[in-house]
Amino acid sequence: MTIAEIQEEIVGEFSIFDDWMDKYEHIIESGKELDSISDDLKTSANLVKGCQSQVWLHAEMEGDNLIFQACSDAIITKGLVSLVVRTLSGHTPREILDAELSFVDEIGLKEHLSPTRSNGLVSMIKKIKLYALAFQTKLNG
């Protein structure tokens, strides 16, 4: 599936919830399904510092695709992180660089992408883009 298709799928999943509480329950469940990053990857180099919740992000190339593993100490952040990983992991650096993450807004959780939330999510997305840029530059080189 393309990144756009995955985002559509996520938006579809969330569209059945009218109640914000059900949405959050679903986010939390998504977080639980996220394969937890192994402890040896929870290094300071992989730590994305948010002011409040912390996010760990590990990236590596598998063939042509960039694979992300991530985790957070807060479960709502972890849920949101899992949705970002599901959307962007397993695509080429080019595709990741070109991707626009519209689903967060579309499922009505835009406030989580506000820098003032300091949940580490914005920094994590920035770091993902930087990884993609670094690997893309390497490929070009």
Binding site: Y24, E25, I28, Q52, D73, A74, I75, I76, T77, N119
Partner: protein
């Protein structure tokens, strides 16, 4: 006695909704809300009285100057300072502490000297001292706490020495609400003629403060925590010390005469008020203090004490709740954790339920490290909060816990 229905009407924001629910505002330690009197005073100033102060020959300027200097006297009386020129207007508590750290530091702190702060302190009363210590080759010493969040006075006494140049501690802890035994702290320092600065940011909205009775040398607070506007604060300092230490910033208003060879400085309080000050802010602060006087600071203290007792009792009954900071003397703040749920998660869901609390390290990272926790959820009260709001908060918290456990 406070008539809660009447005072709540004084604060327009308290009737607004968030996510379709009536706002329960329990983030007063971060910033309190503003009564109409403050909002109106600022509007009135800009609509009818605004002009630059202290240097105009015209009517408006003289008027604005008078209002500004009246505010200084209102604050002088509020904290019972001996002279109105001991009240310096700043940008806020942080600015006040930075002023003292710099000006006192360059005058009195030298290599090998020591500055005492405490484990409970806000970053604003740690970092400015760290910076000046680094510049001057001095050392920061820290008063430890017990597990309840109370300062250990015996250890404090042992820290005091002839190397100690100043003691700077919070009056009330922003993260835990502990009311520190500042009178004892000051008395001990005075025995060795060591000056004391109190960070009063969290005390001023909750307790009667009398700087002469306390005998502190400096007292810092912000307007926005005592129902006034943001961007303005106060530094109280004893006259002789303020006269001894050099200016903090150079510019307009703080000068006597300027030539390229030599500038001489203005008298107190202007020596420490370089540039056009936050005139509207100061006028708003005056209105805020007048409002507090009208309600009565002792009435405020009583109402808030009842509220925190009730909230503590209610929240303690929830399974898994761990109170962080259980000092005997506390003001306004209820900090807690629930099981191993991350504070951020609790705060996020509480917000959706219309309850505004703060989560995280509360700008007191060394304290969180000492307590070995990443942060807390902090509910902080003002006198305009109600028992009914505590009930809404407690029910919301129960919902949150069942959702996140």
């Amino acid at each position: 006695m406070i008539d809660i229905k009447t005072v709540r009407k004084d604060f327009p924001i308290l009737s607004r909704e968030v996510y379709g629910k009536t706002l329960v505002y329990f983030d007063n330690a971060a910033s309190s809300q503003k009564p109409s009197k403050v909002i109106d005073a600022i509007s009135h100033y800009y609509e009818h009285e605004h002009s630059n102060i202290h240097r105009g020959v015209h009517h408006l300027s003289a008027d604005a100057t008078e209002k500004y200097e009246e505010a200084r006297k209102t604050i002088q009386r509020f904290i019972n300072a001996e002279h109105s020129h001991e009240v310096i207007f700043t940008k806020g508590t942080t600015d006040s502490i930075n002023l003292v750290a710099y000006s006192f530091g360059v005058k009195f702190i030298n290599e090998g000297d020591e500055v005492i702060v405490s484990t409970l302190d806000h970053h604003s009363n740690i970092v400015p001292w760290q910076m000046i210590c680094e510049t001057r080759g001095a050392k920061l010493k820290v008063i430890p706490i017990n597990n309840e969040g109370e300062l250990l006075l015996d250890d404090y006494r042992n820290l005091l020495s002839d190397k100690t140049k100043i003691v700077a501690v919070g009056h009330v802890s922003n993260a835990l609400g502990t009311i520190n035994p500042v009178k004892e702290i000051i008395a001990e320092a005075k025995k060795m003629s060591i000056p004391v600065l109190l960070d009063g940011a969290q005390a001023i909205p909750h307790l009667a403060v009398d700087v002469q009775e306390l005998d502190c040398d400096f007292y810092a607070f912000s307007a926005h925590k005592i129902f006034g506007p943001t961007g303005v604060g106060v530094l109280y300092g004893k006259e002789n010390l303020l006269n001894t230490i050099p200016p903090y910033q150079g510019g307009g208003d703080m000068i006597d005469t300027v030539t390229f060879e030599k500038t001489t400085y203005n008298e107190l309080p202007h020596k420490f008020e370089a540039g056009t000050p936050n005139i509207a802010g100061v006028i708003g602060l005056k209105a805020a203090i007048e409002y507090v006087n009208q309600v009565g600071i002792n009435n405020i203290a009583i109402a808030e004490h009842q509220l925190i007792e009730y909230a503590t009792e209610q929240i303690s009954a929830i399974d898994g709740v761990r109170l962080i900071g259980t000092a005997k003397e506390k003001a306004s703040v209820l900090s807690f954790l629930v099981n191993d749920i991350h504070p951020y998660d609790i705060g996020t869901i509480l917000d959706r339920l219309g309850v505004a609390v703060r989560t995280g390290h509360h700008c007191a990272e060394p304290l969180m490290n000492r307590l070995n926790i990443p942060g807390t959820v902090r509910a902080s009260f003002a006198f305009y909060n109600t028992k009914e709001e505590v009930d809404v908060f407690v029910n919301a918290l129960k919902k949150v816990v069942s959702m996140l456990s």
